[in-house]
Every structure is written in C-alpha cells, then in structure tokens.
C-alpha cells in the first residue's frame, strides 16, 4: 500500500498526467518498477494463473486457452508490426502455414508432433522470404497488400489441394505425447500453452533488448536516419518479418494438435484483422500491451455474445477512435 502511494507521487513528479486513469497507470508503472513490487505483483499473478485449472470450469479454461493462443499470435505479430512498424494484414496465413505443415506431416508421414516443429519453422521462413523478399524493398504499404494477398492465396491453395484435404480440411489428427503421456485434457493444454507463452515472451523480450531489436526500433522511428547510421534497413525488416512468421508458424503447429482438425475457413481475413487489432489497440511494441490486447479480443466477444453481429461494427468504431485520440494504443511503451 505504501509502495503504491510513493509510486504515484514519483510518477506525478516525472510525468504530466491527467485524469484518474492517468494517475492510476503511472502509479502502477512506478509500483511495478520497484523490485519488491515486481515480486508481489508477478508472483501473485503467477500463482493465480497456475492454480486456475483447479478452480475454474472447463469452459473458462477453454476461453483462457484461446486467449493464450491469441497472445502467442499477438506476440509474433508484434515483432513485425510493433517492433518494426510494418503493416501485416495476413497474419492468419502464417499460423495456417505452421498448422498445415504439422497436420500434413502427421497425417501422411506419421511423424511425431515434436519433429514437425522444425519443419514448420522452415516452412515459415520460406514463406516469409517469398512474401517479404520482393515487398520489403518497396514502400511499406505494398507489404500490407502483399500480405493480404498471401493470406488469400494460402486459403485458396489449401481449399484446392488434395494433400490439405480441400474444403473439408484435415481431421482426426492425433494428439502429441509429452513425458509418455498424451496431452488430451484441457488443463494439460492450459499448462502447455502457459509454457509456450512464457517462452514466446522470453524470446520476444530478448529480441527487443538486443542489437537487432534496437535496430528495428530505429527503423520504426526513422527509416532514413537508420539507413544513414548504417543499419541495413531491408535486411533487418526481412529478419523481423521472418521472426514474426516463425512465431506464427509455431503457434499454428500447437494450435492444430490441440484442435485435432483444420479447415481453410479458420484463416479468414477476420482472423488476421483481429490479430492486428489486438497489437494496435494493446499498444504497438509493448509485449504486455499486446498480450492485454489479445486477451481483450478473446474475452470481449465471450462476454458480449448477445450483440453478435454488431460486435465488429463497434470494433471498427473503436479502432478509428483509438487511432484518432490515442494512436500509440491503450497501453503503450514508455519512450526513453
């Protein structure tokens, strides 16, 4: 309690804030900056999170699992959109690549699930090079349209090829084994995805604080200046694109064995739009921000099921309002 008060006071001195929420957010920032505060907050949250399967229903666990899946996608998309400032409108295609590679390998070659992950990473890299290679040399909005086109191509190809099961997709994919035990129950998936989220956050935050991450940030803020300082803009953009695609591919691989089936319908533009919106609304570049955005986008529709079709209408409005009044997102990065 004392910590919180001090935090708010310190924040008020440093940053000009307005309104209740401004003070609250700054207070939270200051509190979580202290080591003791960090332990209390993160330890408490971790405990609540890890014990969730004990006191929640299967339905809630499914929602939380879905939430974590979108977090994985948002963390991956954030590398492209948030770190590097590129616009990616076909992120669903990236998890489609991973999901289909895994599904096809398991069904046709009966490979163990864990061995399909390297294949899925390889396929993601290849796809990223094919798409990003030509488009990234040009204006960034070309990338937007090319990724959008790639999203459509992936879906149409999956719908027309025999190996991907055409429109019916691929079904009854066996679930993977871990430590000699098949992962079937939802609580098992809950922990598997928790580990994945931690892993993704760890890798993404390391990328962010590395030389590579700083180069990306420089490109995002001022491309010409970055180039003048000797940053190879095209190379770094391509690597950011590849990294983001790999994240999507791995998330897709895990998704497909959880779902045990896959159809082209799962990768519509709406999916890509949702992922992008989670990143943009949450706060581009900030990992907890995009995770919060992803959580919002999965939990909000569950709570507001009644408004149904009108939902996306409000999303659109929300997006415009956020862009006009708070273009940095709801929980943005603090600029150094």
């Amino acid at each position: 309690m004392d910590n919180r008060k001090n935090g708010a006071a310190v924040a008020a001195e440093n940053v000009k804030t307005t309104g209740f929420f401004g003070h609250l957010i700054n207070g939270l920032y200051a509190f979580t900056d202290k080591p003791a505060g960090k332990i209390v907050v993160y330890g408490g949250l971790l405990l609540i999170w890890l014990s969730a399967p004990l006191w929640t229903s299967t339905y809630v666990q499914e929602v939380l699992w879905n939430c974590m899946f979108y977090m994985l996608l948002a963390i991956g998309c954030n590398i492209i959109v948030g770190f590097c400032g590129l616009c990616d409108l076909g992120y669903a295609a990236k998890f489609a690549v991973g999901a289909y590679v895994t599904a096809v390998l398991i069904k046709t070659l009966h490979v163990s699930f864990w061995l399909t992950i390297p294949a899925s990473i390889g396929a993601s890299m290849l796809a990223a090079c094919i798409i990003g290679g030509p488009a990234l040399r040009l204006r960034s909005d070309y990338l937007a349209i090319v990724t959008l086109g790639f999203g459509e191509i992936t879906r149409i190809v999956a719908r027309n090829l025999a190996i991907t099961g055409k429109a019916q997709g691929i079904g009854s994919i066996p679930r993977p084994e871990l430590f000699g035990m098949q992962i079937t129950k939802i609580w098992m998936w809950f922990y598997v995805f928790t580990v994945l989220v931690v892993l993704f956050v760890f890798v993404a935050s390391n990328i962010k604080n590395s030389r590579f991450g700083r180069a990306l940030e420089y490109i995002r803020e001022d491309e010409d200046a970055a180039e003048a300082m000797g940053v190879d803009v095209v190379k770094y953009k391509l690597w950011a694109f590849i990294t983001g695609t790999i994240f999507g591919g791995v998330a897709g691989s895990f998704w497909v064995v959880k779902m045990t089936s896959i159809t082209p319908m799962a990768f519509q533009f709406l999916q890509s739009a949702n992922i992008l919106l989670a990143v943009v609304l949450g706060g581009m570049g900030k990992i907890p921000g995009v995770m919060a955005g992803a959580a919002f986008f999965t939990i909000f529709p569950e709570i507001f099921r009644e408004i149904g079709d009108m939902r996306m209408l409000f999303f659109g409005l929300l997006l415009i309002i956020v862009m006009i009044f708070r273009p940095q997102g709801l929980w943005p990065e603090r600029r150094r």
Binding site: R137, R139, S140, D141, D224, L313, G316, M323
Partner: protein, 303 residues
C-alpha cells in the same frame, strides 16, 4: 459453341471484368496519389454502391418500369450518395490523421472498412439480395459468328465514357490541375493558394462515385449481391492499380483492363477454382520485376 466463340465470350467477360477493376482501381490510385493512403474501405464503397442502386431501383421501377431508366436513376443516386459518404469518411476519419504516421491512417481505413462491411451485413441479415429487372441479359448484336450482349456493350460504353471524361477532367480543368499539383507537393500547393483539403475531398468524391458506377454495373451483370462482394473486388482492384502504376490515372485504367483479361484467359486455361490466385501471383511477379508498375514514376519512395 465453337472454340472461337468460347474465347470471344471469355475475352468479352475479361473486358467487362476489367472495366470493374479499372473503375475501382481509379479511386485507389487517385487517393493514393494524393494522400498516400491505401484506402481499404474502397472495396466496401463499391459494395455499398451496388446495394444503393438496388434500393433505388426498387422504388424507381414502380414509376418508370424496371428497365434501363430505373438502373440509370439508381446509378446516379448511388454515385452522389457514395461520393458524399466517402467525403464524410475522409472528413471525419482520415483528415485528423493526415499528419500522423501512415500506419495509423491505414489502420483507420481498415476500421472504416469494418464498419461499412458489418453495417451492410446487419442491414441485409447477411443474405444474398437479387436484382430482378425486365432487362434481357441474353439479347445482343451479332458480329459474324459471335454475339455481344447489350448489357456488356452498354457497360463497356459507360466505362469508356467515364474514363475519357475523367481524363479530360484531370488534364484540362483547373481542379484536375490542382489534384496533379497536390500529388506532387502538397505544401507548395498550399502556398499557391490551393485549398488542399477541398481538393482531397473532391478526389474522394470522384473516386467513390466511380466505384459506385462499378457497383451499379455489378447489380445488372451479376444479378446477386452480397455484403462480402466488396472485399475481394477491392484487393483485386488495388492489384490492378499497382500493375498499372499506383498514382497514375491511365495506369489504373490499363491495369484494370489487363487484369480482367488475364483473369478471363487464366480461368479458361487453368480453371475457375484458382482464379482468385492469379491476381496475387501477378501482383507478386510485378513487385519483383517492375515495382513501379507499367506507367508509374521510376522513383522508389520509402515510407
């Protein structure tokens, strides 16, 4: 039907499809040229244009009969209405962000697209709507062994007339001159006493009115309308604009017609299941080998 007749039919289909792409691509290209925005909502303007035509047609057909006169009324209303809608969209959603990073503007455009698209989904309950008229779609004139239907002929004529008038407007009038000026240098135009915001509004109005004409043509040509139709048409028209050279008006016309023809040929040779892939494959090939498009300027500008 002989093989030659099939090919003639496909080429005519390609030309008509190309007219759709060209009319929509013009709006993309004009807006991109002037404020460097990929106007994501443009495909939805086209979709709305066709629904407005259908709506007005329903009322007008009672008075003037369900023939070409009612279609014409619907088309003119749709042009004006969609032009105004686009004007207000740019006024309230885009203008506050003209000086913001381009990504913000692009995301706003996605938001506008979502609103237009979902609003129509709610209004139509997600159902297909059908266009019932007295127009005989099969009637046509015979050119040797081939038949060209009146519907296609009229559409091609309308497209040609619109394109010629647009070219005249851009190249011969003072407003067209202002548009070309803003595309080159917005700030200098301001210094020259041009009301930049007004011209941007005019650009949105004209581009969207053209898309509404395409929407009206879709009404007559396809006969069934769906809220989903704007999305794929929008991205293909954008592809057409890129093929022609984005920002270039003759480029958008040429790119649209070319894409339509290529798609018709592709459908005939490879099969219709893959027809949506052609556009994107062509786009990627184009970006690799000639990123400025057929008629675009040679500079590669970075964001």
């Amino acid at each position: 039907m002989s093989l030659a007749q099939v090919w003639f039919e496909q080429l005519m289909n390609g030309l008509v499809l190309g007219s759709f792409y060209a009319l929509i691509a013009l709006g993309y290209s004009m807006v991109y040229g002037i404020i460097k925005l990929l106007n994501f909502a443009h495909g939805d303007i086209y979709m709305w244009g066709s629904f407005v035509t259908l709506f007005i047609f329903g009322y007008a057909s009672v008075v003037v009969g369900s023939g070409w006169a009612a279609v014409l009324l619907g088309m003119i209303t749709a042009m004006i209405f969609m032009g105004l809608v686009a004007f207000f969209i740019q006024r309230f959603a885009y203008r506050p962000l003209f000086d913001a990073p381009r990504l913000s503007l692009l995301i706003t455009a996605i938001g506008v697209s979502m609103i237009l698209y979902n609003l129509m989904m709610v209004l139509t309950n997600g159902e297909y709507k059908f266009f019932n008229s007295d127009i005989n779609v099969a009637a046509g004139i015979a050119i040797g062994p081939f038949t060209l239907t009146y519907v296609k002929l009229i559409m091609l004529i309308i497209t040609a007339v619109l394109m010629i008038s647009l070219s005249l407007f851009i190249n011969r009038t003072i407003w067209g001159k202002a548009m070309r000026g803003i595309a080159q240098d917005k700030n200098t135009c301001r210094l020259m006493g041009i009301n930049v915001n007004k011209i941007i509004g005019l650009t949105f109005f004209i581009g969207s009115a053209l898309a509404a004409v395409a929407g009206c043509m879709a009404c007559v040509y396809y006969g069934s309308l769906h809220y989903f139709m704007g999305y794929i048409m929008g991205i293909k028209a954008f592809t057409a604009a890129v093929i022609g050279g984005i920002g270039s008006i003759p480029g958008a016309m040429l790119g649209g017609i070319l894409l339509g023809l290529l798609e018709a040929v592709g459908t005939q040779v490879i099969g219709s299941a893959w027809k949506d892939v052609f556009a994107f494959v062509i786009l990627i090939i184009m970006l690799i080998f000639k990123p400025t498009g057929m008629m675009g300027k040679t500079e590669i500008e970075r964001m």
